[in-house]
Amino acid sequence: MVATSNSGNQLAKMKIGSKGHVSHFTDCCMACKLLSMGILPGTQIEMIRSAPFGGGCYIKADNLLIALRKSEACCIVVR
């Protein structure tokens, strides 16, 4: 579930308004944090919008609203 292979898309590259499901994470440390907040493989993710001054994004994971930095969003691979 934590892998560095490049199957799927990075969450950071998702278009605004598009949806997907978490496939895996590319960083173990970040994965631990995301998991404890309830972002798991299989969780539905919707890209809501990017931050006003760039750099971050606002996502919906199931019914949870979460703000992520670009570097954090890059660790989530979506299919």
Binding site: A31, G38, R49, A51, Y58, I66
Partner: protein
């Protein structure tokens, strides 16, 4: 009732839950203690305790632990939770736990619960937000949940108070349960590496559950109760067993989700209708790329406008009231120095404290309203990128904004920033943000620099006022940038912030915050202000033996020589007497250092007393100048406006001096309490001293430049 079976005469109950589970609202409901409740994740930075009246008439100690997502912490707050629960002898180790979960997000909120279950402490599962669940049509089979999760379960609401009495009676049952034998297993399947570690170290830790031993292995680096021998033992066990910290964390977490997710799904009778989502629609505007920041700055402008205009009437009322009381007392009490102490010292001091209550109340009313509604987390999200540029964190925005009220709670709120460098920089620059204690100084001085004209409906003085705030913000950001370049770190930094759903504020919580802040200001700061006011009155009324008398005679003869009229003579005599007093001599001692900034020795006295607390400035001025005049009806501002140099007859508070003084108060570190808090938060005197040096240095430099430019 079987009190004999309870382990402690006053049992300890911990309140635990994820950030945004509404834990603090429930704490308020249960204890009635005044405490801050907010929507920003992790607002509970300190451990709060209260006394809980149980339904059988007994009392319990309720501990409100910081919000945490799991036993794998990244912030200081979350570490506190782990530290309290891993060590059975810890002072916070509870006899029972109330676990608060948001019933509308149950699948996300049970991870920590399932970890708690493995500690062997009796746990009660309280599903919060019953009112929201009802609105959204969410419904669970509580009996089924309770049975499958192995904990008594109930539905309640911290907002409406629903379910509180039931919670109290369930707690009695929970505490009365016969003490269970030490838990010797875990709900999740241990990895072979973890079992190996437990076997190797459990002899050293009798009375610990297996899961506590596993957590010790994960957190051996920072758990402070472990002695060096124990740490070595655990570290050896880790290397013998091939235990991998992160990998085990992920595996444990996934297993736990796999266990409880089906239970949650099977117990759910009705799911949310997902109709129109109010939060989504509001966030379309409030976090919009363009309108988001526009709304943010409009809100800030509204706050400053409110501070200036809404507070004016009550402030005038308070000032007039104290003025009348002072005149009344002076005309009805015998002429004696005690009368003067009462009217010119004590009453003037009280007036200087009470007059700022309206502004403080308005500021905290608006700030806690924003927190309650859930807006603060959005501000953190919007400004994270900019904050990162300056070496700060999106969460720093909340500290910087709270710094507009008081740097002390703001600095304490930085504990939610897990990266040490970002946290330290936030702590160092937050006091640059103009706090409420500067408002009195600004209010008094701004009229000497900017005329009271209006552009449209905004007064020029209000704009200048906002300018001073902006100056503080700019200084904070620039200083942060400099620190970003200087300080080094290897820690990683996170935003990863949960944005709570917008909710109508619970006004009870807002009023409690306002009341608490006003009380703190009047009691804590007010005490210092009052003491300093009286000390100053003594210092400025008395001097070295004979000095005051000699000064008076010298002034009278010089007035005669200049053929001054009676009023001017009295002014000159008063000024000369003041100059000869202890206070005058102290001010004169530092005058050479502050002369380049355009300050005289009277301002010098105010600067000295301001290092105790900035708001003392105004009280000091009141004391100094009410001694110079007999009439007390004038407000401090008018008194200062009429001050002229007794020899040159030039205005003392010229625009140049006033601007220079304003800049000094914007930048200088003049708050002993803040320095004490910085010491506490950084665990070293190095940082408060560095902070004092660079802030006061910048203040001196900018005041000097401003004075040179204008005079």
């Amino acid at each position: 009732m079987k009190p004999a079976l309870s382990p402690d005469p006053e049992p300890k109950i911990a309140l635990i839950g994820n950030p945004n589970s509404g834990k603090t609202s429930i704490f308020n409901q249960l204890t009635g203690l005044q405490q801050k409740v907010g929507n920003f994740p992790g607002v509970t930075v300190d451990k709060k305790t209260g006394t809980l009246e149980l339904s059988n008439g007994r009392q319990a100690k309720l501990i409100d632990l910081p919000g945490a997502y799991s036993f794998y912490p990244t912030s200081k707050d979350e570490k506190m939770v782990v530290q309290s629960l891993v060590q059975p002898g810890n002072e916070n180790y509870p006899d029972a736990i109330i676990y608060i979960a948001d019933v509308t997000k149950l699948e996300k909120h049970l991870l920590l619960f399932s970890q708690l279950k493995d500690l062997g402490i009796p746990v009660l599962l309280a599903l919060n937000m019953a009112d929201v669940a009802e609105q959204e049509g969410i419904q669970y089979d509580l009996e089924k949940l309770s049975r499958k999760l192995g904990a008594p379960t109930l539905l309640l609401s911290g907002r409406t108070g629903e379910g509180m009495s039931k919670l109290k009676s369930m707690l009695v049952d929970l505490l009365d349960e016969a003490p269970v034998a030490l838990l010797n297993s875990t709900k999740y399947r241990l990895a072979p590496e973890e079992s190996k570690i437990i076997n190797q170290i459990q002899a050293e830790f009798p009375g610990y559950t297996p899961y506590q031993l596993v957590l010790m292995a994960h957190h051996v680096k920072w758990l402070s109760f472990l002695n060096p021998n124990q740490k070595t033992l655990i570290e050896q066990a880790i290397s013998n067993s091939g235990f991998q910290d992160l990998q085990m964390q992920v595996e444990e977490t996934m297993q736990r989700y796999d266990q409880f997710t089906p239970i949650v799904q099977q117990s759910r009778e009705k799911d949310s209708l997902h109709e129109i989502n109010f939060t989504d629609r509001l966030d379309d505007l409030l976090t919009n790329r363009f309108f988001g920041p526009v709304v943010f700055f409009s809100i800030m402008l509204l706050i400053f406008h409110a501070l200036f205009t809404w507070a004016e009437l009550p402030m005038n009322f308070i000032e007039a009231g104290f003025g009348n009381l002072s005149t009344f007392l002076q005309s009805h009490l015998p002429q004696h120095w005690l009368t003067n102490l009462l009217t010119e010292g004590v009453l003037a001091g009280f007036s200087g404290i009470i007059v700022f209550v309206p502004q403080i109340a308005i500021l905290f009313f608006l700030i806690s309203l924003l927190e309650e509604v859930g807006y603060m987390a959005r501000a953190a999200f919007m400004f994270d990128r900019i904050m990162q540029f300056f070496g700060l964190n999106g969460r720093s925005v909340v500290a910087l904004i709270s710094g507009g009220a008081c740097a002390i709670p703001a600095i304490m709120s930085t504990r939610t920033i897990s990266n040490w460098k970002e946290r330290l920089i936030t702590i160092l620059v937050t006091p640059f943000i103009s706090c409420s204690a500067r408002i009195p100084v600004y209010t008094v001085l701004i009229g000497f620099v900017v005329p009271p004209t209006k552009i449209g409906f905004v007064s020029l003085q209000a704009l200048a006022f906002m300018g001073l705030y902006l100056l503080g913000i700019v200084a904070a950001l620039l200083a942060a940038f400099v620190f970003k370049l200087i300080l080094r770190t290897h820690e990683s930094s996170y935003l990863m912030l949960e944005l709570p759903a917008y909710r109508l504020p619970v006004m009870r919580n807002v009023w409690l915050t306002v009341w608490e802040k006003v009380k703190t200001f009047t009691v804590e700061a007010g005490r210092i202000i009052l003491i300093i006011t009286v000390v100053l009155w003594v210092l400025s009324s008395f001097g070295p033996p004979g000095a005051v008398k000699n000064a008076e005679m010298a002034a009278q003869s010089s007035a005669k020589a200049k053929k001054l009229n009676a009023d001017d003579t009295q002014d000159l005599v008063d000024a000369k007497k003041m100059e000869a007093s202890f206070a005058g001599q102290l001010g004169k001692f530092i005058e050479p250092a502050i002369r380049p900034l355009g300050f005289d020795w009277k301002i010098g006295i105010a600067l000295i007393t301001s290092f105790a607390a900035r708001e003392v400035f105004v009280a000091t001025m009141a004391t100094i100048y009410s001694i110079g005049h007999q009439d007390d009806e004038y407000s401090i501002h008018e008194k200062m406006a009429n001050q002229r140099d007794p020899v040159t007859h030039q205005l003392i508070y010229s625009p140049a001096t006033s601007l220079s003084l304003l800049l000094f108060y914007v930048f200088a570190m003049q708050c002993m309490s803040t320095m004490a808090v910085v010491y506490r938060e950084t665990k070293s005197w190095k940082w408060p001293l560095i902070q004092f040096a660079f802030m006061t240095g910048l203040a001196y430099l900018s005041s000097w430049l401003a004075y040179m430019w204008l005079s």
